[in-house]
Symmetry: C2
Subunit: 301 residues, 2 copies
């Protein structure tokens, strides 16, 4: 890396299944790198080597501070960054220092917790902070689709409450490991089947386990297309979630952090309820949040 591109700090988004790093000059990305060394496959002693393998070149001119968010700060991660209880701002200037060698400074952002209903987040608090930086003064509800989708109520710059749904993980388990896998693997997406399933699940969420088997039976008896079954599976899960999350989105200013298939599915399901949700790039929000954390903690580094 030539000198004019040398970073003054490094942003790291380290989740269960991914590791993404960004060489930063202030708020500007000068280089990016990623690997599959997610927290889920690493033991505590593996984190520093995994990070150095990815960003070693960027440190050739000397160590620069690293700010990391995500599951890297969990009990099974590099260092446990304690949860901060809501209601609170998504970030503070208190970060947790990871154990390192040779002068490398790695600070990990704390997750958020909620006592009742019991809930936790790690990584999303950084996206929420980034979203607030990009949309100053915004009040309303954020939906962060993912393996564990989060609904977050924001007011006056604080996270008031949040709720996590395992819908994304259920979709993955059911479509890859259940008897339904024979019926949902394939191409295409039937928007009508998705909408009908959302509506059905919002009216009768108790029927989920029966509707799931019925998708398999309909395929056996009538040869349903995979594009129909897969969209219906997604619709059943998202519909049930929207029914439960109604106190979050009903009559609220709503935004979705994400731009992929799953985020578009949430947007379309919300639109059918008369809610027009803004969509925001989640990587941009993550980087804005990591930058905010860097700037607020710079004085202490």
């Amino acid at each position: 890396m030539n000198k004019k591109c040398a970073p003054d700090w490094i942003a790291v988004d380290w989740g269960t299944t991914h590791l993404r790093a960004y060489a930063m000059q202030g708020a500007t990305v000068v280089s990016r790198a990623k690997s599959d060394d997610g927290m889920g496959r690493l033991k505590p002693a593996d984190f520093e080597p995994a990070l150095r393998a990815l960003i070693g070149d960027w440190l050739a001119g000397g160590n620069v501070p690293v700010i990391a968010c995500g599951m890297v700060g969990s009990r099974q991660g590099w260092v446990e960054a304690p949860y901060r209880a809501v209601p609170c701002a998504p970030l503070t200037d208190t970060l947790t220092t990871a154990p390192t060698t040779q002068g490398l400074e790695v600070r990990v952002i704390c997750g958020l917790s909620q006592n009742n209903p019991a809930d936790v987040m790690r990584g999303e608090e950084t996206q929420v902070a980034g979203f607030l930086h990009l949309n100053p003064g915004w009040d309303g509800v954020l939906c962060l689709p993912g393996t564990h989708t989060k609904w977050v109520h924001l007011s006056a710059g604080e996270v008031v409450s949040f709720q996590t749904f395992m819908s994304g993980e259920l979709f993955a388990l059911i479509s890859q490991n259940s008897v339904l896998r024979h019926s949902v693997i394939g191409e295409g997406w039937d928007a009508g089947a998705f909408e009908a399933a959302v509506s059905d699940a919002m009216s009768h969420p108790e029927r989920l386990a029966a509707r799931l088997f019925s998708l398999r039976a309909a395929d056996l008896l009538h040869g349903t297309a995979a594009s129909v079954s897969r969209a219906a599976l997604s619709g059943l899960l998202i519909g049930g979630e929207l029914a439960a999350a109604r106190p979050y989105w009903l009559g609220q200013n709503t935004a979705i952090l994400g731009t992929g298939t799953q985020a578009r599915a949430y947007q379309s399901a919300l639109r059918a309820q008369g809610v027009e949700a803004m969509r925001v790039d989640s990587e941009r929000a993550t980087l804005a949040g990591l930058t905010t954390a860097y700037k607020t903690t710079k004085a202490t580094l």
Copy 2:
């Protein structure tokens, strides 16, 4: 096998994960055998060798008819035994003959199908027929707990309608493969947590995906015992199922086919709704059904 114990026919219960065979003299079991050669691990050409490996000794005195039920009759099984559409009696004298060598006669019982809502069963129809043989003239609702739990409405000796719930498979997937696995593996069963979760899910079935994550979060934040989390997971799934199956069990004569942990959980959940369900041994019902099939088809063998 000495001559006085030589069977005059052989009963076979062949599911996705198990193969159970019974040497029969009329309605009496004279010997039993089982293996792990379930349908799920066999190709079509593997079925006859798998069966002979298990019951070869019983055929030493000559071939006797074999009557089989279960997934052995599915499209991925030994021979596809076509579905019979409800409403209909659980059994007829029309069985499907499997392709065999050396004069072995294997006949497979047909499954049942329902057009709308789309649904199928294979194996349970034999248990239902056996239950009716053991309880002549019985009208009401049968619950058959399993990977895919069935609720079956019986009237005047016919299956009027039925509904399958994937709750058992969801329990297995979530407890073994999801993020919740860290919180539910262990010993014990907290009956209070089960009852509270049943009640919660019956009132708010739409909250399932959030309640599931909350079990994990409560463990992370408060160190919940696995006996509590696992019973609550079961209660959330069974509670949602009871809410959807209410038209089946409400005000009906109800029986549960099964004697294990899962069957007791259904019984306890139904009792909390004021329904006292009779429990019947499912192996006994399977054997009675296979015997009924043998007797009604004997003339054609």
